[in-house]
């Protein structure tokens, strides 16, 4: 796990240094990396650790965006508005979770997507509050583009760091162990004394709060929100894909996935504007078939051996960084990994 934390610090430092080593374009890009990193880490609580495939991310982002915008427009100081938006989103998630976490798997997935749709439709028709389809304008931050760019970069970075810190806590705690048990066998977890309802709602709420804050920061950053962007089905799909790309159920996987995804999106897909959605789709298809456990679960040593590079190689560390307490159990390598998990083989979905 320490390797994962070190890797995260490297990424966070990289993001933090951007304003001094590159121009505004890269600052913006780094802000997106931080944002998606926070979102993917959030999803990881309910989707990765607990095994409930949530597609409600956009619902929380959108709700946070509108809450943050409304608080800000009402005169609440910026950072407080963001935090309050997080609280509102968390409360919503707790209530929703109480209802929707009773069902699993497919039904849960479908239910969670529908929440996004319902919220979007409500935002569109409740024009009195939300400005309806025209959207809502938010006060622009004073101080010029460079200054604003840096403020929002560090704001998003702060959210990502906070989410990561909570992730590390979850990974090590009794709570996290309970979530993993629920993912493996919910009835058995219940039997050994895990309060499964409370734990699930807790994970769901955790998955929402940082999405809400992120949404609020985003609304302030772009200074405008509208239903279609705030409650975007595309976003609600991209975020789990990022977590899957890096490795769900791990502490660094979501961040890695967000980083790789944003870079791919900028460098490849933006070039082919007309076909970028298709290319994204193709990437997803390729990911599902060739990277079932994500980047962190690839057996780099085995690939290295096959390519004739001999023992390990620079990336050998990645195989052991998964730091999970057993999400990929099948045929651990005989060297037996750290902490008894040896998760070196690309994990098959449980």
């Amino acid at each position: 796990m320490n390797k994962s934390i070190a890797a995260f610090i490297v990424v966070a430092a990289g993001i933090a240094l951007t304003p001094w080593v590159a121009d505004n374009y890269y600052v913006k890009l780094a802000t997106f990396v931080a944002m998606y990193g926070a979102l993917a880490l959030s999803w990881n609580f309910i989707g990765g650790y607990t095994g409930y495939p949530s597609f409600a991310t956009a619902a929380f982002i959108g709700l946070g965006s509108y809450a943050g915008a409304l608080f800000q427009n009402a005169g609440v100081p910026l950072i407080l508005a963001w935090l309050l938006a997080g609280v509102v989103t968390a409360a919503f998630a707790a209530v929703l979770g109480f209802a929707i976490l009773r069902v699993k798997g497919h039904y849960f997935a479908v239910g969670s997507i529908s929440v996004v749709e319902v919220l979007r439709l409500i935002a569109s028709s409740w024009s009195g509050l939300t400005g309806g389809g025209d959207g809502l304008n938010v006060k622009i931050l004073q101080g010029g583009a460079d200054y604003a760019g840096r403020v929002f970069l560090f704001a998003m970075l702060a959210v990502m760091i906070a989410t990561f810190a909570v992730t590390v806590w979850v990974e090590r705690s009794r709570f996290g162990f309970g979530l993993k048990a629920i993912k493996q066998n919910e009835d058995a977890a219940n039997m050994v004394g895990v309060n499964v309802s409370a734990y699930k709602i807790g994970a769901f709420t955790l998955s929402a709060v940082f999405c809400g804050i992120t949404g609020a920061v985003y609304a302030s950053w772009i200074a405008y929100i509208a239903p279609v962007d705030a409650f975007s089905i595309l976003t609600t799909l991209k975020v789990p894909v990022m977590a899957l790309l890096g490795g769900e159920g791990t502490i660094f996987g979501p961040v890695l996935g967000a980083l790789v995804f944003v870079i791919l999106e900028e460098s490849i897909w933006a070039r082919f504007l007309e076909a970028n959605q298709a290319i994204l789709g193709l990437t997803i298809v390729v990911l599902i078939f060739f990277l079932p456990g994500g980047l962190l679960r690839i057996d780099y040593r085995r690939i290295g051996r096959r390519l004739g590079m001999g023992r390990s190689g620079a990336t050998g560390g990645a195989g052991g960084t998964a730091g999970t307490a057993g999400t990929s159990a099948t045929s651990a390598t005989s060297t037996g990994g750290t902490g008894g998990t040896g998760s070196n083989k690309d994990g098959r979905d449980a």
């Binding site: 090590r172 009794r174 162990f177 309970g178 993993k180 048990a181 493996q184 066998n185 009835d187 058995a188 977890a189 219940n190 039997m191 050994v192 004394g193 895990v194 309060n195 499964v196 309802s197 307490a325 057993g326 999400t327 990929s328 159990a329 099948t330 651990a332 037996g336 008894g340 998990t341 449980a350």
Partner: protein
Amino acid sequence: MLEVRQLTKRFGGVAAVSNVSFELKAGEIVGLIGPNGAGKTTLINVITGVHRASEGKVLFDGRNVTAQQPWQAARSGLARTFQIVQPFPGMTVLENVVAGALFAGRAASRAEADRAAMEHLEFVGLAHEAERPAASLTLPSRKRLELAKSLAMKPRLLMLDEVNAGLNTGEIDRALELMRAIAARGVTIVIVEHLMKVVFSLCQRVLVLHHGELIAQGEPRAVAKDEKVIEAYLGHKFAAKLKTMDGAAALAERAQEPVQGQTLGQAQGNAHG
């Protein structure tokens, strides 16, 4: 310690458990027997909160726990094993037991849970497998893992649902020793069994279920001679025959011997056929 009053559980129109009442005192080892489909597992499920009772009450240490969730039962000291073992497949053997220690077992920290888990693994003889994935164990080992997990839950009442199904004679003997050792630690045990050898050698008292009803309870030998019990297992015709032959006593004795792995259930089958 445990009091069950007029407990009934219906699924649709069928009563799987019907008006069952009994009491358990601390330190007892009680057998729960009955033909297949008698409702033994359902009874355990209702007591531990997996199913909600349709009627009746369950009292644990005087508290009404009828509507409790399984995790609440676990935390208050009621543990059970499953007929079809339910491990956490992606976790190691050790982690499986840690799960029991960490939650129901109220360990103060992960480190304490790890220590307790290793102790329990040693107790059941699985310490050398601690780091292996639980999914890779053989069936007898899985049963022992299930046992270790329930012990880690620090149960005061342990309900074992056919822990011996699928085991050979030698393994059964070892299991028997384990269970005596557990009882010696002060745990009250309810054991659902088909093997009369186990029931007779281990249990002080036996409860007999048939079609969801409690048809007899008492000392093993007395129960074995009970007409209703014989009829339940062997069927009406054969039971009538047996009465005239005074074979009841002979049957009770015969039931103690393992007939090369044949259970009383199989004897029942032979009798009908």
